[in-house]
Amino acid sequence: MLLSIENLSIRLPGRGDRPHAVKNLDLTLQENEILCVVGESGSGKSVTASAILGLLPPELKVESGRVMFEGRDLTKLSPAELRQVRGAGIGMIFQDPMTALNPLQRVGDQIAETFRIHTDLGKAEIRRRVVKLLTDMHLPDPELAARVYPHELSGGQRQRAMIAMALALEPRILIADEPTTALDVTTQAQILSLIRELQQRNRMGVLFITHDFGVVAEIGNRIAVMRMGEVVETGAADDVLNRPQHAYTKSLLAAVPLLKPPDRPPPEDGLEGHAALSILNVQKTYRRGLRRTVALKDVTLRLRRGSTLGIVGESGSGKSTLARCIVRLLETDGGAIEIGGADITRLTKQEWRKEARRVQMVFQDPYASLNPRRRVGELVAQGPVIHGARLADVMPKVRELFGLVGLDPEAVDRFPHEFSGGQRQRIALARALAMEPEILVADEPVSALDVSVQAQVLKLLADLQRKLNLSMVFITHDLRVAAQICDRVAIMQRGEVVEEGEPSRVLVAPQHPYAQALISAIPGRDWAMRRESP
């Protein structure tokens, strides 16, 4: 046994919703295995990971229990002894490769630092090893990668550099805290296979923290499911994924969006019927000085009234630019965007302001998209008030909307921080609906939410659409989510729509090579297919 966490309890400060971040936790990690710790936000999975190396924030204290590694209890070590374990015996990588590297230091220097701390190697030898490591990480130009600063690398390359740093001294254990969550699907697939390759080569034990069951199915040998600081179920990956015992595990798995699109009634009046929105040959180029970035290249799409059009793509595909053009937060460079037959790109600013209510938007981050200083009722009423209604007249409708999106109508006097992420996204939805729009543009509306909350919000969106006959543009990077909610899906790559059609076709038999790559990169695809086939 490589690592054993025994009866670990970590106290939370003050009077939170629970006294312990982690309570009576038992976990073991064997040599040559990947143990996935799965849980939603606040389950204590990241706290557990940090506790192993004594990297807890100062307000969190280990109350009892042991973390045994190579015959020593890590929680009892002195700071100096612990530092010898960090980076040498146990390496660690983190979620966001954008922020996990020091922006002011060259990548090579940051990797070299690990050698300088723990070994007496000379400068030239360290340099040689850094380049060797970066080569092992399959970076295209390792010599160059060592010389550049983090911002000059892509997200995936940065995560490779992070892994190189963590594995520099060939530690026996790698702790990976959501290492692929911030990455695109195809990059995620590459990083997952890299981690598995390195793990098998060094017979390492990997403690892999994630919230995504797809990733678990892809990489895990064993699984521990955490909830509210406790492990509710552990077992072999196959058992937990396919024959879950605990009710919570079952509910989590049920909330994972299926890969297979649900059966939807075929369109009543065909595609040629009433288009709520037509995007015709839209172009958009960002110019900054002499640099030109083509964000949208001749994009043509149609949204049938009362249906949902999913726009799927990775970062930089132009999907968010398109969303912003549809609500005219950005001006297009060419083409037309027709709503109800009228081209909105030709309206003057004043004309558009009157028409703006017809298209409303919901944003990704429910924490940043609500003004923290205003009461949520006012926020929802703001749109109608700007268009001339009196606050007192709008409030009854606001209460009604709160009921509609599944919130307590009496909560209108509270402030955004009093709500959870899922509730905030409901508020954002109510705000958009207060304008009685014909078209709702949702830009990654569930990406920041836990799976169970995500499932609820998706269900709410589908219900609302039926009730209000809304037409919806649904932007997402997650094909599984798109499959669940969309009537048609468009896949974008570098500003172009490379494939468009019904999800049952696009997801099952994609034609374009990029669409094929994107779909085969969905984590845990094999598991999902097996699970979903009767």
């Binding site: 966001d96 020091n102 600063y149």
Partner: protein, 325 residues
Amino acid sequence: MRLLRLTLHRLAVSVPVLLIILCGVFLVLQLAPGDAVDALLGQMGTADATLAEQLREQYGLSGNAASRLVVYLWRLVRLDLGFSVSYNQPVLDVILSRLPATLALVVSALALAFFAGAIVGVAAATKFGRWQDTLISLLGLVFYAAPSFWLGLMGILVFSVWLGWLPSGGLQDLSANYSGPRLVLDMARHLLMPTVTLATIYFAIYLRVIRASMLEVLSLDFVRTARAKGLRESAVIYRHVLRNALLPMITIIGLQAGAMLGGSVAIESVFSLPGLGRLAYEAVVQRDLNMLLGIVFMSSILVIVINFAVDLLYAQIDPRIEAGA
């Protein structure tokens, strides 16, 4: 090459900035009643209209405001700052003779405020939430709130009048006739109190800025990465956190260089230092337009140069900034 292009670009932008400042100051001063000749005649105790007319002709003060502005700007193009009525010397000579004292004061105060603020701010951030942090923040607040001229007067009272340790004013001991290292030492002794007084408020600002930005950087992921490598806490702070935390400080220094030149007026008056600040004050009293415009011109150039240097430094420290972008 990129540096050269940036320099040229900045130079081109500076010209209209200088022009706007000079025209603005010129026009504002026209609104004030009386000119240098009025002030001069007032000192002489006469009010002879023909003498006044003669003097105005002699000093180029006749004619309307617009034509005088054009004449002034044309002279400026030939790097001629004009002649001072009250000093009876070319403006440039007077300014150059006063510049070193002000520069020495401002630069040493800036350096003191920066280093002391950084050291104390880092100490406060590493002891966040403990009594040391509270004490430092409280001290910072006191320094921030105390007016510098009052601090200066109290300093004179304590260290010059009561204890007799430091001189109460001036730049050097004129009676001693020092030279060489002794002179430098003597000037340093004279500048000590003004420097500390001018630095206090900036010390308080920098201390708060560094503390806040240290706390922010400490919460970033790469700090956790550095700790996970097994780096010592002191190395984490100095190698990874501090350099990142200094970035907002450098921006602020550029912005405050101008404010500090302004702040030196009060300090130079309290400690009777022969610097630019006091010269500006006297020029206002004497309605010496040429002198005032000359000082504004020189100060503007100083501020522009300092900001340029700060931008270059910033680009040097932060690889994400492209010089010239």
